[in-house]
């Protein structure tokens, strides 16, 4: 598997990562090498084997639908770059 420039740009966009134009060839090589390693998986047949997402395959735990957290908005927003009146500020989306 080898990724060309447009594929690297597409993946970077999917992941919302700005990457420098000059770094693309490097990413292309490194990501292709990693995918080459990953493709060693194809050396084994896995037809009929069930996939596992969690090593112990435990069911998700349920809880009562009750409020357990108190409002800590101001406390948590101290880590935000820009807030106003309890809202997070971002560049204008709708003109």
């Amino acid at each position: 598997m080898s990724l060309d420039k447009s594929e690297v740009q597409k993946i970077a966009w999917l992941a919302r990562l700005a990457i420098d134009e000059q770094d693309i060839p490097n990413y292309s090589d490194e990501l292709s090498n990693i995918l080459g390693l990953v493709e060693r998986m194809n050396s084994v047949k896995t037809d009929g084997i069930s996939p596992i997402a969690h090593p112990l395959e435990l069911p998700a735990r349920l809880r009562a639908d009750e409020v357990t957290e108190k409002d800590q908005r101001d406390h948590f927003q101290k880590n935000a770059a820009l807030t106003e009146d309890g809202c997070y500020l971002v560049p204008k989306v709708i003109e």
Partner: protein, 484 residues
């Protein structure tokens, strides 16, 4: 005093041979003295530590203490610490002051541990050499031209150099065991779900597990008694009852059945390391253990499967870093997309970006079955390999890493070669099993670790074997030159 184990420090505090404040000052002085050369701490929390130590002395005076009250510890900078910078080794979180404590930190604080600071690590725990940290590489105290391993390299280096008696680490593909091996200390990766992941910044949620990095198995057991257990705030926390991990330490291991996977002793293993591990196994045989060769036929597939599962989960987990709610935000974004893309592009380092991109690719439309689904099927095969082995043997033994510590910058530009060196550790994470690395010898004055893998929730057995081994060997007592 700084060469003492937790049990010895506990006794010294109990007998009033030393106060927690004196002990804390002693370790803080060492941290400050050696951090310039080792770079194992991102933050040293001197004021908070001294305040906590004074409080510990007061609790001891009032007889309101636990055996561990007043003992210093270092926290890997992946664990949220309320009011203290928690960077995860990344520029992205260089300005992040955690607004709450991780469960592990909360439990250790409640037991009376005194936090000396936050240890350096590979950025978002992605790396095997601690060279991907935004804060610079950590040095191995056995030779400062060499890496300490990763991703918990700061914790491993700090414990090996006796800058802290014990530290926390996290292990997603070997990040406790491999640096423990390369720095000559004892590191335990518990069963998946045994230690709460709440407040531990997520890398790959189905693999991540926190655990102790210590001088001895006994110390690791003492820390496990504090941090293990069910936590309703972690949705994958195990509801299984918790052992007293110190209870079985002194049991005999006569009759113990040890499996030696032939795949762990073949091609790719340095012959010097193989010799040391074989000698370690002979010591266990002298203690009455019985060995037999076993097979883990899908071992080779663990690396490719891991490098699908871990990046996929990482790309999903790290999507939360958007430059809006916390973390790094780029200057003058021209629109919302620009804000997201540049904050992430500028805030994440190279290895993290590589893994996010691999993850985004394998999860993208049209590729899911070929990569992610396939990797999850292989994960099933790997888990079955181990379960078949545990029908015949009690534990599995082998090397922790393919070699000793390597030189700084040696593998930095060859990610695939770095990934392949995790061959003996990643399958354990895919299967969710517990495993321990313990010091077993030296090659060219660099430490070598031996790994023991147990069945689910058998941490107690692993600690018992490691403790018995440490009663008849002194590899774990070796101290790097200049740090005595």
């Amino acid at each position: 005093m700084h060469q003492s184990t937790l049990a010895q420090l506990s006794a010294a505090l109990e007998s009033k041979q030393i106060s927690s404040e004196e002990l804390t000052r002693l370790y803080l002085d060492r941290c400050k003295q050696f951090n310039d050369s080792l770079n194992c701490f991102i933050t040293i929390t001197e004021d908070e530590a001294l305040q906590k130590a004074k409080q510990a002395d007061k609790q001891r005076a009032e007889n309101k203490h636990t055996p561990l009250t007043g003992i210093p510890v270092a926290q890997k900078d992946i664990f949220c610490t309320n009011g203290i910078k928690t960077s995860c080794g990344s520029k992205m979180l260089d300005n992040f002051i955690a607004p709450y404590d991780a469960t592990v930190v909360e439990k250790m604080n409640a037991a009376g541990f005194v936090t000396l600071g936050k240890t350096n690590m590979d950025e978002f725990a992605m790396g095997s050499s601690n060279e991907t940290s935004f804060y610079g590489s950590v040095k191995n105290p056995w030779n400062t031209e060499y890496v300490p391993g990763g991703s918990s390299g700061g914790s491993a280096s700090a414990v090996a150099a006796r800058l802290t008696p014990i530290a926390t680490g996290t292990d997603t593909g070997g990040s406790i065991r491999q640096p423990a091996s390369l720095c000559g200390i004892t590191g335990l990766k518990p069963t998946y779900g045994r230690v709460s992941r709440y407040g531990m910044i997520a890398f790959a949620s189905s693999l991540d597990q926190g655990g102790p990095m210590a001088l001895t198995a006994e110390d690791a057991a003492l820390m496990m008694n504090v941090i293990a257990g069910f936590d309703e705030r972690d949705s994958t926390s195990a509801e299984q009852a918790v052992d007293d991990y110190t209870k079985n330490l002194n049991n005999s291991i006569a009759g113990l059945k040890i499996g030696l996977p032939k795949e762990y002793f073949g091609e790719g293993l340095d012959s010097n390391i193989a010799k040391i591990v074989e000698d370690g196994i002979k010591e266990l045989e002298k203690l009455g253990a019985v060995c037999k060769e076993i097979e883990l036929p899908n071992t080779e597939l663990s690396i490719p499967a891991y490098y699908v599962v871990a990046p996929a989960e990482c790309s999903s987990n790290l999507s939360r870093f958007d430059g809006v709610r916390y973390g790094y935000r780029c200057e003058d974004p021209k629109d919302l997309s620009d804000l997201y893309c540049r904050s992430r592009g500028e805030g994440f380092g190279k290895e993290v970006k590589r893994r996010i991109m691999i993850g985004a690719y394998v999860l993208s439309a049209g590729y899911y079955d070929a990569y992610y689904l396939k990797a999850q099927q292989i994960r099933h095969l790997i888990r079955d390999d181990f379960q078949n082995a545990f029908k015949d043997v009690d534990v599995i033994a082998g090397p922790t890493a393919t070699g000793t510590a390597f030189k700084l910058n040696e593998k930095l530009n060859d990610p695939v070669s770095m990934y392949l060196s995790d061959i003996y550790t990643v399958s354990v994470n895919l299967a969710g099993l517990p495993a321990i690395s313990m010091p077993a010898g030296f090659v060219n004055k660099l430490p070598v670790g031996m790994q023991l893998i147990g069945n689910y929730f058998e941490e107690s057995r692993l600690l018992n074997i490691a403790h018995q081994y440490q009663q008849v060997t002194d590899w774990h007592k070796q101290i790097p030159e200049g740090f005595e």
